[in-house]
C-alpha cells in the first residue's frame, strides 16, 4: 500500500473517531439536517409535480387563428414555423371544420360560414400573450381565440413556483450551511488541544483539517439520505392525486429530487465545514 493511500485511510479513521467522539451531537445534527432537507426535497418534488400538472393542462390549450376569406392557411402555417416557441401547428380548412360541426350538431342546409383555421400549440405557455399580439397584427388574420384567463393563471402559477423554489433553495441552503458550519466549529473548539499538539508535532495542515471536512460531508449525506423517507411517502400520495386527475407522473422527477437532495447535502456539508475549518482552524 502506498503512503498516500495509507494516509487517506488514516484520515478516514480519524474522521470515524471524530464522529464517535461527537456522540449525541451526531444525532442532533443529522436529524436537524434531515428535517431541513426533507422540507427541501418535499417542496422541490411538489413544485415539479405542480409544474408538470400545469404543463399537462396547458398542453390541452391551443391558440386558434382564424383567417380572412381567400387567404391561404398553408402560407400562414409556414410563417408560424419560423417562430422558435411553436410546439405544434395544425391546419383545419373551413370544409373540414364545417363537416365536423355537421357531425356534432344537427345543422340545417346552410352555406359554410366558417373560416379556415390554424391551430397552434406553444412550448412555453407563459409566452402566449406575446404570441397573440404578434399574430393579431398579421394582415391575413381575421381573429384569434384563446382561453385567456386560463393562460394567465398558468403563467402566474409557473412564475410563482419558479420564484418560490429559488427562494426556498436559498433559505434552506443557508440554514443547512449554517448548521454544519456551527457544528464543525463546536467540534474544532472541543479538540483545540489535540489540534495544537498535532501542529507542534509537525502533522501536516491537510491531515489535521481533512477529518473535519469529511465529518461535515458525513452529516450532510446522512441528513439527505434520511430526508428521502418522507419524499417516498409524499410520492405515493402524488401518484394517487395524479390518478384522480388522469395525468401521468414522471418517475424521473423523483430521481432528480433524490439526486439533488443528496448532492445538496454533501455539497453543503463540504462547503459548510471547509468554511468553518478556514475560519476557526488556524494551522
Amino acid at each position: 500500500m502506498s503512503i498516500e493511500v495509507r494516509i487517506f485511510f488514516r484520515i478516514l479513521g480519524e474522521t470515524v473517531k471524530g464522529i464517535q467522539r461527537s456522540k449525541w451531537m451526531n444525532l442532533v445534527i443529522i436529524t436537524t439536517m434531515a428535517a431541513i432537507l426533507s422540507i427541501f426535497s418535499c417542496l422541490f418534488r411538489s413544485s415539479l409535480f405542480v409544474s408538470h400538472f400545469v404543463s399537462e393542462i396547458g398542453d390541452s390549450i391551443e391558440v386558434s387563428v382564424y383567417l380572412k376569406p381567400e387567404k391561404d392557411p398553408k402560407a400562414l402555417a409556414k410563417k408560424f414555423t419560423d417562430y422558435k416557441n411553436i410546439k405544434k401547428i395544425k391546419i383545419i380548412t373551413r370544409e373540414e371544420a364545417w363537416k365536423e360541426m355537421q357531425q356534432q350538431v344537427d345543422i340545417p342546409e346552410l352555406k359554410n360560414p366558417l373560416p379556415d383555421t390554424v391551430r397552434v400549440k406553444l412550448k412555453d405557455k407563459t409566452q402566449v400573450k406575446q404570441f397573440i399580439e404578434v399574430v393579431k397584427k398579421l394582415e391575413e388574420v381575421e381573429g384569434v381565440q384563446y382561453a385567456e384567463q386560463l393562460a394567465e393563471n398558468i403563467s402566474r402559477i409557473g412564475h410563482f413556483i419558479n420564484t418560490a423554489a429559488i427562494i426556498i433553495i436559498i433559505v434552506l441552503g443557508s440554514l443547512t450551511f449554517s448548521i454544519i458550519n456551527n457544528t464543525i466549529h463546536l467540534v474544532i473548539e472541543s479538540r483545540k488541544q489535540e489540534i495544537e499538539i498535532m501542529r507542534m508535532m509537525g502533522v501536516s495542515d491537510w491531515y489535521i483539517k481533512a477529518p473535519y471536512i469529511f465529518q461535515g460531508v458525513f452529516y450532510g449525506f446522512c441528513g439527505a439520505f434520511l430526508s428521502v423517507i418522507p419524499l417516498v411517502i409524499l410520492n405515493s400520495y402524488m401518484y394517487k392525486l395524479a390518478k384522480l386527475f388522469y395525468i401521468t407522473v414522471d418517475p424521473a422527477n423523483t430521481q432528480i429530487v433524490i439526486i439533488s437532495v443528496l448532492l445538496m447535502g454533501i455539497m453543503v456539508g463540504a462547503v459548510g465545514s471547509v468554511f468553518s475549518v478556514k475560519k476557526y482552524l488556524k494551522v
Partner: protein
C-alpha cells in the same frame, strides 16, 4: 544545528529577545537558563517557528526559519521533537496512540509504527505502559510519554521547555537522565529551565538569558 544572529523579538514595545547571538552545534546538550520572562520560551518558540523574529536570523539545520513559508513549517517540526512542561498528552487516548499519532500521520506502516513506539517507550523506561491512559500515570510517567512522542520519529533535535517544571526533584532527575541518554545517541538537546539543582548536577553548556539578552554562555557551567 542552530544559529541566532542578532535576533530580536518584540511584543509591542517590549523586547522579549534582544540582539541574541548563539551557535548550538550538532550533538550538543544545552541548558537555557534564566528567570521567568528572561526570554527562554521565546527563543524556543522562534526555533520551532511558532513565532517569527522581529529582526535578525534564526537558522535551524541551515535554513532561516524566519523566511520559511507556512506550508514548510510541519516539515521543520518533524525534524525536531518538542517536550512541554504540561506534557500535552491526549487524555482519551492510550500511551501507544499518544506516541504513535504523529508517525501515523506520516503514513508509516503499522508494523513500523509498532516497532518505533516500542523502541521509544523502551528508551523512556515505559515498555509495559503502552495501553495505559494518561490519567492512570504519574506526572513523571506522563512526561516520559511526552518524551517518547518527541523522539519516536528520530529527530536530530530535541527541545524541552521546562520539562521538569511540574515534577518533584527525584522525578526531575530521572527525566533529565533520559534526556541525557537521548543526547548520547546523537540527538542535539536544548532544555529551558530555571531548576538550579538540575543544571548544577549535569554540568552541561549553560546559556543564561536576562531580559532577553544572552548574558553568559559557559561550557560545563552551573546556574547563575
Amino acid at each position: 544545528m542552530i544559529k541566532l544572529r542578532n535576533t530580536v523579538k518584540k511584543y509591542g514595545r517590549q523586547r522579549a529577545l534582544d540582539c541574541a547571538n548563539l551557535h548550538i552545534k550538532v550533538g550538543e546538550f544545552v541548558f537555557l537558563v534564566g528567570a521567568s520572562g528572561a526570554g527562554k520560551s521565546t527563543l524556543m518558540r522562534l526555533v520551532y517557528r511558532e513565532e517569527k523574529p522581529s529582526r535578525g536570523q534564526v537558522i535551524v539545520g541551515g535554513v532561516d526559519v524566519a523566511k520559511m513559508r507556512e506550508t514548510q513549517i510541519p516539515y521543520l517540526r518533524r525534524r525536531m521533537g518538542i517536550v512541554f512542561q504540561d506534557f500535552k498528552l491526549l487524555c482519551d487516548q492510550n500511551v501507544f496512540d499518544n506516541v504513535a499519532f504523529v508517525i501515523k500521520a506520516l503514513g508509516m506502516s503499522s508494523r513500523e509504527i509498532r516497532r518505533r513506539v516500542k523502541g521509544a517507550l523502551k528508551i523512556v523506561g515505559l515498555p509495559d505502559k503502552a495501553y495505559a491512559y494518561p490519567g492512570q500515570l504519574s506526572g513523571g510517567e506522563q512526561q516520559r510519554v511526552s518524551i517518547a512522542r518527541a523522539i519516536v520519529n528520530g529527530p536530530p533535535l530535541l527541545i524541552a521547555d521546562e520539562p521538569t517544571g511540574n515534577l518533584d526533584p527525584q522525578t526531575s532527575l530521572e527525566i533529565m537522565e533520559i534526556l541525557e541518554q537521548i543526547n548520547k545517541r546523537g540527538t542535539t538537546v536544548i532544555v529551558a529551565t530555571h531548576d538550579q539543582m538540575i543544571v548544577n548536577h549535569f554540568k552541561k553548556r549553560v546559556i543564561t538569558l536576562d531580559q532577553g539578552k544572552v548574558i553568559k554562555d559557559i561550557n560545563s557551567g552551573t546556574y547563575g
